[in-house]
Amino acid sequence: MLRFVVFRLLQSLVALAILSVVVFILARATGDPLHMILPMNASEEDYANARQYLGLDRPYVEQYLSFVGRAVIGDFGNSIRARRPVIELLQARLPYSLKLAAFAMVVSLALAFPLGVMAAVHKGTGVDRAAQIVAILGQSLPTFWVSIVLVEFVAGRLQWLPAGGADSLASYVLPGFTLGWFVVAGMMRLLRSGMLEVLDSEYVKLARLKGVAEHRVVWVHALKNALIPVVTFAGIYFAILVTTAIVVETVFAWPGLGRLAYDGITSRDFPVIQAVVLTTAAIVAAVNLGVDCLYALIDPRIRYGR
């Protein structure tokens, strides 16, 4: 097991290294950052001095290595716009993003579990069809449109919930619901097909023959094994959640990483963009790593099969 974990950890690090190269190239490919830092009337000499001071005159490989070296210890430089260390901005915003993601996850699990299980148990009936439609509708609604409609009706006309910000627990409801509903479909579908397979198996038949109550057969015996494929989906699920969060955070003025990225991009604040992209990717990679280890723990075939 330890060999598997180390091996997967190395894989994740390689993936992150590739990504850091891409981010580095993208950031350099966009023109001289000095144009944005120095005043309009700066002379050639000022440019040369600044270039030397910021280390931009060194070879690219050297610049890349020092960028990575500092990024590893959490030093992403200063934000051009906020004139503060990027790490401070990250520290302020990351908790909000994680809290929103957690809330959205709870919403989607609370929807996906009953829907997936009910659909499998009542396969082919109206219940099955209705559950699938609820799930697929969430996947088909553009999140920013849902956000606007919810802000207008629930927050505006009905005044039930706040329209933006992250001041109280109530302000989690609208963005969390919008984000959560979007990712229900994939998880519900996996649960449904997993349950269908398991409900057909010998040990479920045995449990029924033994006289185990039907609700126990479904919710305990069957569900436990139908969960395995759902665990593997968690990585992709999380990546979709993070991507969608950028849009949702923008509409709801949520003080998270997504909004930080959006603001950073619109004001060409490259240290911020680099930091957000790498942090997001690192989180997604860490989640994937955790998922794979969990999976290998549940299902030993993965460990040896590679």
Partner: protein, 292 residues
Amino acid sequence: MSVVVLPETAAAPVPAARRRRWPVVSIGIIVVFVLVALLAPLLSLADPYEQALRLRFRPPVWEDRGSWAHPLGTDRLGRDLLTRIVWGSRVSLAVGACAVLLASTIGAAVGLVAGYYGGRVDATLMRVTDATLSFPVILLALILAVTVGPSFGNVVIAISVILWARYARVVRGQVLTLMTLDFIAQARIAGAGAWRIITRHLLPNTLNTLVVLITLQVGYVIIVEASLSFLGAGIPPPTPAWGSMIAEGRDFVTSAWWVSFFPGLAILLVVLAFNLLGDWLRDTLDPKLRQL
């Protein structure tokens, strides 16, 4: 060419009663939108760019001040909403088609090569795939939009550069299964080269999966494109795109709800149709594909 049926899918023939009806409604919606997009210049509609400031914020025809001249009302600049939605369908469907075709071609090629050669090649390609999968699509598109400028080509590139990884993953998985089957070994013994085995034996056997994934991804791509246009990183105005139309109407939702509402409805209809069709295709062609 040899198309094999994988043993697990051939387990039990589907009884006639369980075979599902064709998703007529989804196919109908898709056909209507495709036709409307293709024929937009011939439909003798109003000019999507024509402004008429005196006719700003006209409501849809069934409301008090509405008229048949503008069945779905007009926007902030007095432009006809129905016309703009029709022209917007060209953007959404074109981005959807281009991005998905590009991504599936790259992804299928990577998956086939990785699965066929295995070993180092496979390990390297799969690391790149993993790195790609962990990169948020919208962030990349936003970066491209700011650095190179928003355009149709950049939106397609940004989306396909990320999306191919899903195809590569799924195709590779299928190829790994196929490689253990006898007919590949037989093809080898018969003297078939790598190119012939990949194009003639492996590719045809992954087509079902590709078709399902392509259909399911069109809807996702349309949503991503709309999100980008909404954030101002997609198709630049004044070209009508559903996402940017929703963004333009956003500030007037309280007084003129229709400006944002109808483009959103159009997105919902098209994406829902593609998702339902993809779902049906998956259940019909390849019930084992649960993760797509």
